[in-house]
Amino acid sequence: MPALLSLEEVEVRRGMGVVLRDHNLTVKGGQCIALTGSNGSGKSTVLEVAAGLLPLEQGKVLHGSTPVIDHEGRRRQSPVTVGLTLQKNGVLGSEVVEDHLLLACSMAGFSVDVAPFLEAFNLKHRRKDLVAHLSQGQVRKISVLSALLPAFASNEACLVLLDEPSTGLDDDAVKVLCRWISVLRQRGHGVVLATHDERLLEQATHVHAVAKGTTEPRGVPLDEADIATPAGTARRVTPSAFGIKTHRQTMLWLNTNGMAALLTLGLLLALGEFILDLTPLQRLGFLLAPAFAAGLCGEPLVAAMREERASSWWTAVGGGVPHAGWMPLLIGAAVTAGASVGFQLPFNTLHVLVGAAVCFAVWHAVRLMQLATTRLARPHAAMVGLLTPVLILPYAVLVDWLTR
């Protein structure tokens, strides 16, 4: 049977030290590998490397026979369905419980009846609630379920990566989790878990000592009865579709980008009826300024998704970090049209389209700047705003070109 996951001669640096050096690990279908070691030995690092979240100094990581990441920075989409629970829960908080679990399944192209799983975790009565309204332990259960459900729904061998999944779970929930891991193993899925919990360690077919880099087999009986999980197919949710939905639900865009545009427009209008006395270049510059200001705020989802490492979860499982997609086009067009009315200028379709394009381009350019600091220990302190004036020159050149 080919390996689901292979770490080959992997070297990873974190902070000032080398956490993993010449590290090898192979996970096949039907295996449950428990990563053991003291705090700081690199258990979470192995899991994050396996999920393709960390850059490698040396070596490569393969899912099946496909190298998903190597030390030269090459990345490829995993052909294997990956379920992931990080140390943090990987959720935004504004998701509805049931929707989030269905979303996790849809990443692999499946749909599954989540009710039995929620019932087993004593969460059925909370399935229509927002994740943010749950207790820490309940959110942890959702995070664990979002890693397990794609594997339960899939007929093909999946890779399930669990980092300290039992943290915050009550005894009954841990027993249920142990049973589910056993069932997944019997179905031929590969499970890797980092844990200090003896009850979960008992489910492991192999124990991998991270500090030594050795893997030892251990005998585990296969005596769990299977669980019926009727599954169907579902359309894959893209990071863009999720981002737009989240923006619509949370109105994050209004609090940041929308307010920046409205304040800019309000400030310009408060200066009096000066707009008709300006040159065409100045007039267009002011007309497009609210759309430009809206874009300059960047993507509010980037900061929101850092909190519980939702962006890392999406990168590993969903193939990218959620973003507002085409929404800035709409916002740019609306505020430019509003500015046109406010300044009492004749409506010009070209100007509205340019406003939409400016907002879209600036929004996504700032988003790329924000994402460039994702690896930092304190990304919020990196002052990305200092880089945004780089966008003023293209804006000035565009306005100049349009008014020639």
Binding site: A372, R375, A381, A382
Partner: protein, 231 residues
């Protein structure tokens, strides 16, 4: 550190001398050629500072590439030194340019002048790299991120250089290194050359001192980590 101090002192002395020469000895430009001929003497500070900034940004680029591709500690120290020197000389250039622009153009800043703006952005990048790096704990994540910004920023250097030749809107074109021999006379060229050499010496001394300081900081961090393990 001692050699860096000597080089720095030589640079300071050279710049002081060149400024005295610029103010007291160098001939004035034609009163018909500029709106504000007196302000034009800032040129002896502005152009050599810009030249030194390009050297610093070159060091930032080499240091960034050296860290990203070779994982060289020495190259990381060069990145740190290049960004700090780039920030210092960039601010010297931008500030003196604003003074001259206010006197000559009637405005300290012109958003339509490509060279002015690309140079301003280079300086802003140096501010970002220096402040951003200092806001983070040292580590491979911090180094990779800011080294990448150092590489991207270097794209602005050739753009700034060719901007004077392609998009000369308000900035004067090149005054040396042109086919017609440039627009400055012999004595002016001599003071400009002396000033450029002095700024070069200063920036080399600055980078030597900065690299040494970073090395000492790294040693201190290692000792602190060792002490933590013992305690």
């Amino acid at each position: 550190m001692k050699s860096a101090g000597v080089v720095l002192f030589a640079g300071f002395a050279g710049i002081t001398t060149s400024m005295l020469l610029a103010l007291l000895w160098a001939p004035s430009v034609s009163i018909d050629a500029f709106e504000s001929p007196a302000a034009q003497r800032i040129f002896y500070w502005h152009v050599p500072a810009a030249w030194a900034a390009f050297i610093a940004f070159g060091a930032l680029f080499i240091g960034s590439a050296g860290w990203l591709f070779k994982r060289s500690e020495r190259m990381w120290r060069l990145h740190v030194a290049g960004s700090e020197a780039g920030l210092a000389t960039g601010l010297m250039t931008v500030w003196s340019g604003c003074v001259w622009g206010a006197a000559e153009w009637g405005t300290p800043w012109d958003w339509t002048d490509v060279r002015l703006n690309t140079f301003g952005l280079l300086t802003l990048l140096a501010i970002y790299v220096v402040l951003g790096r200092n806001s983070q704990p040292d580590g491979v994540e911090t180094r990779d991120t800011f080294a990448a910004f150092g590489l991207y920023g270097f794209v602005l250097v050739p753009l700034t250089y060719i901007a004077t030749r392609i998009w000369t809107i308000r900035h004067p074109g090149p005054v040396v290194g042109t086919d017609d021999g440039g627009s400055i006379n012999g004595d002016m060229g001599l003071v400009l050359l002396f000033s450029a050499v002095s700024f070069t010496v200063l920036i080399v001394g600055h980078m030597m001192a900065s690299m040494r300081l970073t090395l000492l900081e790294q040693k201190l961090q290692r000792l602190q980590a060792k002490t933590d393990r013992v305690v």
